[in-house]
Amino acid sequence: MVGVRLVLLLIAVISASLLCTSSVSAQAAAPTPPAATLEQRVTDLEQYFQNASVGGPTGTTWTSKIAGVPGPGDNAWLIVASALVLFMTLPGLGLFYGGLVRQKNVLSVLAQCLSIAGLVIIIWWAVGYSLAFGTSFTADRTHPTLLGSILGGTDYFFLKGITGAPNTDYSYWVSQNIFSMFQLMFAIITPALIVGAVAERMKFSAVLLFVTLWMFIVYLPMAHMVWGITGMMNGVWNATASIKAIDFAGGTVVHMSSGWSALILCMMLGKRLGFGKEHMAPHSMVLCMVGTGMLWVGWYGFNAGSALAADGIAANAFVTTTLAAGVASFVWAMLEYIIRKKPSVLGFCSGAVAGLVVITPACGFVTPNSAVIIGILAGVIPFIFVMKLKGIFGYDDALDTFGVHAVGGTLGALVTGIFASVDANANLATNLKDIVGKTLWLEQLKAIGVTLMLSIVGTIIIASIVKAVIGLRASPEVETEGLDLAEHGEEGYIMDHRS
């Protein structure tokens, strides 16, 4: 049984952890630079406000008195942002999705979100953070290797050496331990998004096994390639990246990867029993709306937090996120108003989420006015997809993970290439100044291609394995009775007179 195996795995992993961490490798001591002069000490303090390096430009000109400690303001923001991103999944996404399924399956969605949180936390602690953000697979940063550009390294296995000191590869002023948690929260919500496409019929054990494999085969490589300092698609920070793409908060890593994988998985899984015949209306639009509000609020942690500082870029990401979400929500519902006379709560919610998805890769790179245009696109294009095209193709993406996240994520990745501007984010002038506003969109297309490929091929392989080993789908009896009772032994609501 998969449960047992997972527990055994867990135990194995713990033992390994204890062994590993006892053998901390001695780090080669670099020669210590001279102590900071008074002026240099003042400069170090000023750097906090500029979100820049202490100890001189590379951190090695002088020994800073405040090296190895985080900046309280930035750290405060990242702590809160990490909590906000967890809030997106627990309970945000749980409610958004849970409200959209039928009553008999609401708990199955919640159980899937909760189990993914636990599972990914364990993976992330053991090896995940290291494989995504480590660097030991790249011996020499000026000579990238294939492995090192796809996965990080083993250096941070079991969070070895991850302390309150910032990792300046990623942020000058944020503690690496909170950075690792911020990234963990992304790693939790991404597979949880897939749940929407396969809701109401996928077996719980199959979800667990699928997600475990998917983390290794799709998510961790994606995260490293796009955000790892040695990643092959990290155009902003990695001068040797082979694809000079940009993705501020996860258009490719989070939304495309989950959305395209969701499409494949739901096609391999087949439609829900009674699809197209029985009523499958959302059992609680109220919960769905509550979830949307939580997603929106939490998304500020996701998007503005991705600045990894409480600076003007974070603030700008907040602005663009707000504008895109608000505009897309309004546009989507107004399209409904025009077309069928009834603007719906689900329309406002779908539009808001679509706006948030599409702005995600762009939020820290574009101006507010671009965000408004992006919001309009986000209100129109996924709308058409979900309302019309889906019906034509006829697959059963139960809660529209594909229509919103894959379509939106892909759209976002592309428009980011078009609208990104140095005005909005000066960091684009470091490694990308020659292509921003010019051929950046071509790099984005390449990144889209890689993401598509990895998600689709990866999911086909993983789902085939899961199907072969334990099967993907609940039995028809279980599906008819509802997953809540059959798989979890609980009911979502017990409202009768007797109890």
Partner: protein, 112 residues
């Protein structure tokens, strides 16, 4: 004894209850039902999926009464529940063999 069962529009319940009280009928049992009939249902759309809901919310009122009150009571219900629009509902009258008040074991007309 007879049972009068009336299927009515939900917002007419208070009026029907009052009409029966006016006749001195101090007991009844109501339940929520869904009705299918000539009255048109409505359509709900959730993203791309459209669902026609033919079953409309109705209230079922059940009252068991002595034979001699049947006519008056059913007339009173009909009068109170009528809006004149399709979907006003029905009154059905059924024979009852016996009634017992659980608290007292009284039976027959005294029980209701």
């Amino acid at each position: 004894m007879k049972k009068i069962e009336a299927i009515i529009k939900p917002f007419k319940l208070e009026e029907v209850k009052d009409a029966l009280s006016d006749l001195g009928l101090e007991g009844m049992t109501v339940s929520e039902v869904k009705g299918f009939g000539r009255q048109k249902g409505h359509t709900e759309i959730y993203r791309g999926s459209e669902y026609t809901v033919d079953f409309l919310p109705k209230i079922k009122v059940e009252v068991v009464i002595p034979d001699d009150l049947v006519e008056k009571a059913s007339a009173a219900i009909v009068a109170a529940a009528r809006t004149g629009k399709i979907g006003d509902g029905k009154v059905f009258i059924y024979p009852v063999d016996e009634a017992i008040r659980i608290r007292t074991d009284e039976t027959g007309d005294k029980a209701v």
